[in-house]
C-alpha cells in the first residue's frame, strides 16, 4: 500500500551541517529538495564530481587486467568508515595509473606515426638526394609524385621540355620530373591529365633511405619502452581493482552528500533543509539529527494541495518483489491505489499458464533460488529473481494441469494412460483450453473493475462505484450466464433469462446514469449510449487472453520438436553412429532446452506484464508517480553494512 509522505523542514547550526548530513545519509530516508538558491557549496560539489570521474576512469583502465568475478559470488560487504578510508590511496593510485596510461597512449601513437612514414617512404628508397634541400635550385621546378606503371610511356611526351627519373619497380612507380620554371605550368597540366598523384616528402632531413633507417631504430626503442610501460601497468593493476571499486563507491557517496549540501539554503549561521520523508521514518530521522546536536528545529507537515510528493509503497514479503514489475510501467499516483499486492497472485498464475511445462518450471525455480541465495541481489534484478522463482513454481503446477514436462507427455514419463494432463490437453481440446483462458481473463478483468469500485467507495463516491463499474460487472456476468444454457446441456433455459435480465439491468443503469453530470435527460441518454459502446473494449480485452493459450502450446510444441530431433539422432541402426548420436544428442538436448527456457521465460514475463498493465491496470490504476530518491548509499561494488538497503530502487 501507499505510504504517506510528509514534507519536512530542518533548521540547524551551520557548524553541525556536515555531521547532520552524514547522519541523515545513514538513515536513507530523506529526499532533499532543491532550495533554488545559489550555493557556496558548488566548489565542493565539483571537487567531489572530479574524484568520481578520476576513479571511474581508473576502473576502466584496470578492467582488462582485472580478475573475472564469479557469476554467483555476492558483493563484498564493508563498513562506511572502511570504505571511506580507501579513498585517499585510491586517488593517488589513480593519478599514477593515469600517468602511465597517458604515456602508453602517446608512445603507441608515435610508433604508429613513424610506421606510416616508413611505409610511405619505402618506394623512395633509391632516391639519392636530401629530401628537404634537393629542390633549392634556381630556375628549376621539381615535381615529385607517384605514377601508374602503365602511364610511364606517356612521360616520353614531355621529353622535349622536362627530365624525369623513376625510382622503383611495381604497379605504382615513384617519379621525379624536373623542368625549367617557365615550362612549369604546361608540365603541371600535362601531369594532371595522366595517372599522376603528387607526393610531398615528410619534414625530416636526409635521404629517404637514411630516414627509414632512423625511424626504424626509433620505433624499436619505442616498442621496448611500450612493453616496459605495459608491464608496469599490469603490475600496478594486479590486486588493485577491489580497492578502486570500494573507493569509487565511497566517492559516489561523498558526491551525493555534496550534491545535497549544495542544494540547502543557508544564512550566515544556520542552514535549512527541505525534504520528503515517509511517515513511518519520521522518528528515525529525528533521532539521527538529535544524535548530532540538540540545537535544531524539525517539523513535518502533510503535503499541500499543489505539491506532488514522491511515491513510496510498502508491501508484504511476498508482494514486494512484484513492485519491480509495477515500476517498469509506472509508480502509483500517491492519491491512487497501489496495485502490486493485487497484481502479484494473478501474475504468478498467468505466468505459469504461459510457460506451462513442469520440467522448465523446476529448472527456473532452482536457478532463481540459487541466484538469490548466492548472489543476494537487490533492487531490480533481485525483484525479478524472486518473481521468476514464484513463476517457476506456478509453471510446475500448470505443467501438471495442462500438460508437459520437458516437452514430453506425463503419461509417457510415468507410464500411466490418460491420467495426465489433469485439466485439459490443449492439443486435443483447443476450444476448451481457450474457454479456460478466456475465463481466467474475465475473472482478472472483473477483479480490476471491482478494485475500481473499492477505490470509489473509499472516496465516498458510491455513484461511480455502482453506476459506472458495478453495472459493467452485471453486463459481463449477465451475458456469460445468458450464453451458458445454449452451450452446456442440462442447464434449464430459465438461467439464460436470468442472465439476460442481469445484462439488461446493467445496460439500463449505464444508459440512464452514466451521463448524470448532464442535466438534460436527452444528453444523458446519448452519453450513456456512447458509454455502452465500451463493450467492444471489454471484448478485445478478453480476447487478448488468448495469448495464454498460444504461448502455452508454443513452449510445449517447441520442446517436443527438439525432442523429436534428438530422437532421430539417436535412432541410427549402426552401433557406432548410434553411440555417437546419443552423445551428440545429449549435449544438444541440454543446449536446445536451455535456449527454449530462456526464450519462453522472456516471452512469458513480458506478455504477462503486458496483460497486467493494459487489461488489469487499465481498469483502476492511476499512474504517474515519481520515484523516491533519498540521500543514501548508492553503491555498485560494495554493500555498506551499517545501512539498511534503500527503500526505493
Amino acid at each position: 500500500m501507499i505510504v504517506q509522505m510528509r514534507r519536512m523542514t530542518l533548521v540547524a547550526h551551520k557548524a553541525d551541517e556536515a555531521d547532520i548530513l552524514q547522519a541523515i545519509q545513514a538513515t536513507q530516508s530523506v529526499e532533499v529538495l532543491e532550495s533554488g538558491e545559489e550555493s557556496s557549496e558548488q566548489a565542493a560539489l565539483e571537487q567531489a564530481e572530479e574524484k568520481v570521474r578520476k576513479l571511474t576512469d581508473a576502473l576502466k583502465t584496470l578492467r582488462p587486467y582485472g580478475e573475472k568475478q564469479g557469476l554467483l559470488t555476492a558483493m563484498p560487504e564493508a563498513n562506511i568508515a572502511d570504505v571511506a578510508k580507501q579513498l585517499p590511496p585510491a586517488l593517488t593510485f589513480s593519478d599514477r595509473l593515469e600517468g602511465i596510461a597517458r604515456e602508453l597512449a602517446s608512445t603507441r601513437s608515435e610508433i604508429e606515426k613513424n610506421r606510416t612514414i616508413i611505409e610511405s617512404l619505402r618506394p623512395w628508397d633509391r632516391f639519392p638526394a636530401d629530401m628537404q634541400t634537393f629542390q633549392d635550385v634556381r630556375g628549376v621546378k621539381y615535381f615529385t609524385g607517384l605514377i601508374a606503371a602503365s602511364d610511364v610511356e606517356k612521360l616520353e611526351d614531355i621529353d622535349a621540355c622536362a627530365e624525369y627519373q623513376l625510382f622503383n619497380e611495381g604497379v605504382v612507380r615513384t617519379c621525379v620530373v624536373a623542368c625549367p620554371e617557365d615550362e612549369a605550368k604546361s608540365v603541371a597540366n600535362f601531369l594532371k591529365s595522366i595517372e599522376w598523384t603528387d607526393y610531398a616528402f615528410p619534414k625530416t632531413g636526409g635521404k629517404p633511405a637514411d630516414a627509414i633507417q632512423r625511424l626504424t631504430d626509433r620505433n624499436r626503442e619505442l616498442s621496448g619502452k611500450k612493453s616496459d610501460l605495459e608491464v608496469s601497468l599490469a603490475n600496478e593493476a594486479s590486486g588493485s581493482a577491489k580497492m578502486v571499486e570500494s573507493a569509487l563507491d565511497a566517492a559516489v557517496i561523498e558526491r551525493d552528500r555534496a550534491k545535497a549540501a549544495a542544494e540547502i539554503a543557508r544564512t550566515s549561521a544556520t542552514f535549512q533543509l527541505e525534504g520528503w520523508v515517509p511517515q513511518d521514518k519520521v522518528e528515525t530521522v529525528e533521532k539521527a539529527v538529535k544524535s548530532v546536536t540538540d540545537a535544531y528545529y524539525f517539523s513535518t507537515r502533510e503535503p499541500d494541495k499543489g505539491e506532488v510528493p514522491p511515491s513510496v509503497v510498502e508491501n508484504s514479503k511476498f508482494a514486494t518483489p512484484f513492485e519491480q514489475v509495477t515500476n517498469l510501467y509506472s509508480r502509483p499516483d500517491p492519491n491512487g491505489i497501489d496495485a502490486t499486492p493485487y497484481m502479484a497472485p494473478f501474475y504468478v498464475l498467468l505466468f505459469g499458464l504461459m510457460l506451462s511445462d513442469t520440467g522448465y518450471g523446476l529448472v527456473l525455480s532452482i536457478l532463481c533460488a540459487l541466484y538469490i541465495k548466492l548472489k543476494k541481489p537487490t533492487g531490480m534484478s533481485g525483484g525479478f529473481a524472486h518473481v521468476l522463482f514464484w513463476g517457476g513454481l506456478s509453471t510446475m503446477f500448470w505443467g501438471v494441469m495442462v500438460g508437459t514436462v520437458f516437452g514430453m507427455d506425463f503419461d509417457t514419463l510415468f507410464g500411466t494412460t490418460n491420467v495426465f494432463p489433469l485439466l485439459v490437453d490443449p492439443m486435443d481440446n483447443p476450444i476448451n483450453m481457450l474457454i479456460l483462458c478466456f475465463g481466467l481473463g474475465v475473472i482478472h478483468i472483473l477483479f480490476g473493475v471491482g478494485l475500481k469500485m473499492k477505490l470509489a467507495f473509499s472516496r465516498k463516491d458510491w455513484q461511480t462505484a455502482i453506476f459506472d463499474n458495478f453495472s459493467w460487472i452485471l453486463i459481463i456476468c449477465g451475458l456469460i450466464v445468458y450464453a451458458v444454457p445454449s452451450s452446456v446441456e442440462g442447464i434449464p433455459a430459465v438461467v439464460g433469462t436470468v442472465g439476460l435480465g442481469m445484462a439488461g439491468l446493467g445496460a439500463l443503469m449505464i444508459l440512464l446514469f452514466k451521463g448524470r453530470a448532464n442535466k438534460n435527460p436527452f444528453m444523458r441518454t446519448i452519453s450513456g449510449l456512447g458509454e455502452l459502446y465500451q463493450v467492444t473494449g471489454f471484448l478485445s480485452d478478453i480476447l487478448s487472453y488468448a495469448r495464454l493459450f498460444a504461448l502455452g502450446i508454443a513452449t510445449g510444441v517447441i520442446a517436443s520438436v527438439f525432442n523429436e530431433l534428438c530422437k532421430m539422432l539417436m535412432g541410427s541402426p549402426v552401433l557406432v553412429l548410434k553411440i555417437l548420436g546419443i552423445l551428440v544428442a545429449c549435449g544438444l538436448l541440454v543446449a536446445l532446452h536451455a535456449f527454449n527456457i530462456a526464450i519462453n521465460t522472456l516471452g512469458a514475463f513480458v506478455h504477462c506484464a503486458r496483460l497486467q498493465y493494459v487489461e488489469f491496470y487499465g481498469k483502476f490504476y492511476e499512474a504517474g508517480g515519481r520515484a523516491f530518491r533519498p540521500l543514501g548509499y548508492k553503491t555498485k561494488h560494495v554493500r555498506i553494512l551499517d545501512g539498511k538497503s534503500s527503500i526505493s530502487d
Partner: protein
C-alpha cells in the same frame, strides 16, 4: 506423372510458414543487432540490455517453425506420407497464411521498434523496461496470427 496434390499443398504450407516467419525474424533481429552494435561501441556496459531487446523479434520465427511442424505432423510429411485429399492439403496451405505473412510483417515492425528502443536506452539506460514493453506490443499480432493458424490447422480433417 501422378502428383499427390494434397501432400504437395501441405508441404508448401509448412514451408511457407517456416520460411516467411523466419525471414521476418531474421530481418527484425538483424536490424536490432546493428543498432545494438552501435550502442555497445560507445558503452560496453549496455550489452545485456541491448541483447535482450535484440532477442524480442525472434519469436515469430519460432512460431512459424511451430506451425510448420504441426502441419508436417498432420500431413505425415515427417514419417512417410499420409494420404491426404487435395482439399485437406489446400486447407493446410491456407491455414499457414496467417502466421507466414503475419509473422513476416510483424517481425519486421517489431525489429524497427526494437531499434528505436535500443537507441532510447543508449540515452536513458534506466528506461529499459519501457523499451521492452513497447517492443512487445507489436508481438500481440504475431500471437493472434499464431493462434488462428493453429486453430485452423487443428480443424482440418485428414484421412
Amino acid at each position: 506423372m501422378e502428383l499427390q496434390w494434397g501432400t504437395i499443398f501441405a508441404a508448401a504450407g509448412a514451408a511457407m510458414a517456416a520460411v516467411l516467419a523466419g525471414i521476418g525474424s531474421a530481418l527484425g533481429v538483424g536490424m536490432a543487432g546493428q543498432a545494438g552494435a552501435g550502442v555497445v561501441s560507445e558503452d560496453p556496459d549496455r550489452f545485456g540490455s541491448c541483447l535482450l531487446l535484440q532477442l524480442l523479434p525472434g519469436t515469430q520465427g519460432i512460431y512459424g517453425l511451430l506451425i510448420a511442424f504441426v502441419i508436417a505432423t498432420k500431413a505425415g510429411l515427417l514419417s512417410g506420407g499420409v494420404d491426404i485429399s487435395a482439399t485437406a492439403g489446400l486447407s493446410l496451405f491456407l491455414a499457414s497464411v496467417p502466421i507466414a505473412f503475419g509473422g513476416l510483417l510483424s517481425a519486421i515492425s517489431q525489429g524497427k521498434v526494437a531499434v528505436s528502443g535500443i537507441n532510447m536506452i543508449a540515452k536513458k539506460p534506466e528506461e529499459q523496461g519501457k523499451a521492452m514493453l513497447m517492443t512487445v506490443m507489436v508481438e500481440t499480432y504475431a500471437v493472434l496470427a499464431l493462434l488462428i493458424s493453429f486453430l485452423l490447422v487443428n480443424g482440418v480433417q485428414v484421412g
